[in-house]
Symmetry: C2
Amino acid sequence: MAAPVDFLTYVDDHQDQFIQRLATAVEIPSVSGEPARRPDVVRMAKYLEEQLQAYGVETKQVDLGTHVMDGQTLPLPPAILGRIGNDKAKKTVLIYGHFDVQPAELSDGWSWPPFTLTRDEKTGRLYGRGSSDDKGPVLGWVNVLEAHHQLQKPLPVNLRFCFEGMEESGSEGLDDLILEEVKKGKESWFDGVDCVCISDNYWLNTRTPALTYGLRGISYYKVNIAGPARDLHSGVFGRMVHEPMTDLITLLSKLVDPQGNILVPGVDEMVPAADEEEKKLYTALDYSIEDVELSAGGKIALSDDKASVLMGRMRSPSLSLHGIEGAFYGAGAKTVIPAKVAGKFSIRLVPPQTPENVDPLVISYLETEFKKLGSKNTFSIENLHGGKPWVEDHKHWSYEAARRATEAIYKQTPDYTREGGSIPVTLTFAEALGVNVLLLPMGRGDDGAHSTNEKLDISNYIEGTKLLGTYLYEVAAGTKA
Amino acid sequence: MAAPVDFLTYVDDHQDQFIQRLATAVEIPSVSGEPARRPDVVRMAKYLEEQLQAYGVETKQVDLGTHVMDGQTLPLPPAILGRIGNDKAKKTVLIYGHFDVQPAELSDGWSWPPFTLTRDEKTGRLYGRGSSDDKGPVLGWVNVLEAHHQLQKPLPVNLRFCFEGMEESGSEGLDDLILEEVKKGKESWFDGVDCVCISDNYWLNTRTPALTYGLRGISYYKVNIAGPARDLHSGVFGRMVHEPMTDLITLLSKLVDPQGNILVPGVDEMVPAADEEEKKLYTALDYSIEDVELSAGGKIALSDDKASVLMGRMRSPSLSLHGIEGAFYGAGAKTVIPAKVAGKFSIRLVPPQTPENVDPLVISYLETEFKKLGSKNTFSIENLHGGKPWVEDHKHWSYEAARRATEAIYKQTPDYTREGGSIPVTLTFAEALGVNVLLLPMGRGDDGAHSTNEKLDISNYIEGTKLLGTYLYEVAAGTKA
Ligand SMILES: [Zn+2]
Ligand SMILES: [Zn+2]
Ligand SMILES: [Zn+2]
Ligand SMILES: [Zn+2]
């Protein structure tokens, strides 16, 4: 069942209004990882809830309690549950998205203020933090609701919504909410859900829409080395004391090599090598080494072989060194011996890896390596957050509906991809609801989520809104599993 | 010739006023390494010049031209030359000091605002950036001038002053000034100088005054690794591309080991090992492992052997890793692959090392090691600043005068020390003027120059002012070499 023409026309006719909606959302700097911006996350929750209510969705703010961040106890931003439609004859689709964003400062190297949506007419792009991750997709659903509300058309399915404001900071509190809600049975806001649809990832490239059936997990670590009571002058103390930075850099250098191989014994080894048949799946994708180098903005691919680069992202673990807290980070030449430094790194996980089976390997390896240093500084390691990887059945009717919707809107067969990033809630929904979860991306592979100059192409926002709506019609038409 | 009692009494009677003078100076955040604070350095120059003029010193601001910092062309702060006294029968002492300071932010971990002088009555300490390095000592000289001016006493020697505002940023422009000034012969502000006295270092411990006859040099490096055009999401790009942080951390780990050994081939090897006789010099100093651990605030000495720890600071090179520019440095868990990172490290040099003979070793070693990584990222290395090491004749009459002055004020024989830090101008004065240079420290080994909570003990400031004045009387009494 194709989407009705009046819906598609409405979307085309209201582009500027939809872009204005996204602009309003981007202006709320809902950075969940910065305690000072917590009130903005709450403000964003309220804005989103009002939008849902305006188009007939019944909503509920769920208090998720408090958590500790940077030594402060902070209230978590509320999650928002929503529901519209209760027709037993229709399928029920649960939509997930997040309204918090990654940190961003103009000084990080943005070409425009990150919390202003900047429209570039020449390229047809909308720049701003959260434009693609994940405010654009979330508001895509609001656009679909608006269109049906204004056209006084009933939706083809019953919809349930679960939107959170802590995704970029480990989705604190959300798993508990989902598990609690599921327990309520008939009273649950998730009662009767037939499938879940999440729009929080990206096409593999800039040309071909994708359906995503796998995600890597993550385990994020902080390695702390401390020694002196305060920062020291390197002239006065250099070669008299054990320097925390020397210890930390030595440890961090033992985690990953420049070819991306993980040096923590047992981690790479947990994942069986791909056989020839599996390799063909990756060879079939619409992708080239040029694609990765264009989207990265540098000729830095780890290999010249497309399948091996794609497998690196989709079916291999990866270890990235993100930075150091406590060391000198400014411009210029400061001759300091930092007293207390913390290295941040994370490992992206693939089946059968989980934080539970990888963390002990990482922790005991670093403990052992630290002992080998013979340093009098102190060592500790923290796991800041973690999430299991996930792989889904991509022959399910929900995936079939998404394929047909993609073909209708984009006139292309989608790439079936596994993503390198982590959306831990995917797995929670899959396990707690026992239903199929579909990842239906709106943005392109070069959107730069989590980076400077994050963007969403106007065409992806508008066609993506049509895609989300059409997917609902195709679900309604499909065979219930 | 002991200092006259009325001078000493004047100093005792004007302690609060002298502390207020230091408080005024600390409130001017004259950070030479931060372009935005350049006007404060200029303001500090003006304040110091007015103080000198108030007590009868003829002054001259010398324009040092411009330089480039962080890509900006900036005017250098002026140097201040001063002279008072022109009696052929008296010796002429040239005083050097600097009125710029290291960067400091409350958020670095200071217990009090760094640019407010905080007086702690319980410990008798004055906390604030520049209190000990180098505003306290510079104002010690102003205090001596004030006392003589107010008491209408002639100074026992002719004095010349050379104060700069770029010491913490490589003393840009100062060498040229000194060399130009020396060339002027009879017209030179340095004409007739018999010796140089610099008060810009520290006692070895917290008990025993010191005279310092050696300094390490320095060479400060910035290693740049760049790859993608912008920061990347580690989920999307992890194990697809060469990550600049991985390359940088690998390179930095090859520079120094946790025991302080420099791994750059040829650098440690340039310095001959100490023989038994030289080791005895270090064994004789009033120092213990507890001293270093107390001043560092942690039990982190590289050895249990006092002489070997002291030699590490005084007669060995050291390599410190200061930090990384461009990586994630905040709190929390950001999953970024930084696009462009720069590692900062420096090597403290001892004879026969110089930046000229060490830089090529470091640069070619890192170039070679980078090639070994097999990375497609780009590598470059910059030398941000450098200075040669210096060792002086400590039997000279100026050192003898300082020894007698120390014995008069502190009732102790000073430690004869070599310092781990760098004051490159020391060597320029020694070479350009061809006279003896004395380092006469005011502060203690635990002052925390360049660190958080930098402090100067009130007793060191006040007795130190007496010491500087008494030194001038002892110079006047000594035998001209
Ligand atoms: Zn997201
Ligand atoms: Zn995200
Ligand atoms: Zn200094
Ligand atoms: Zn200094």
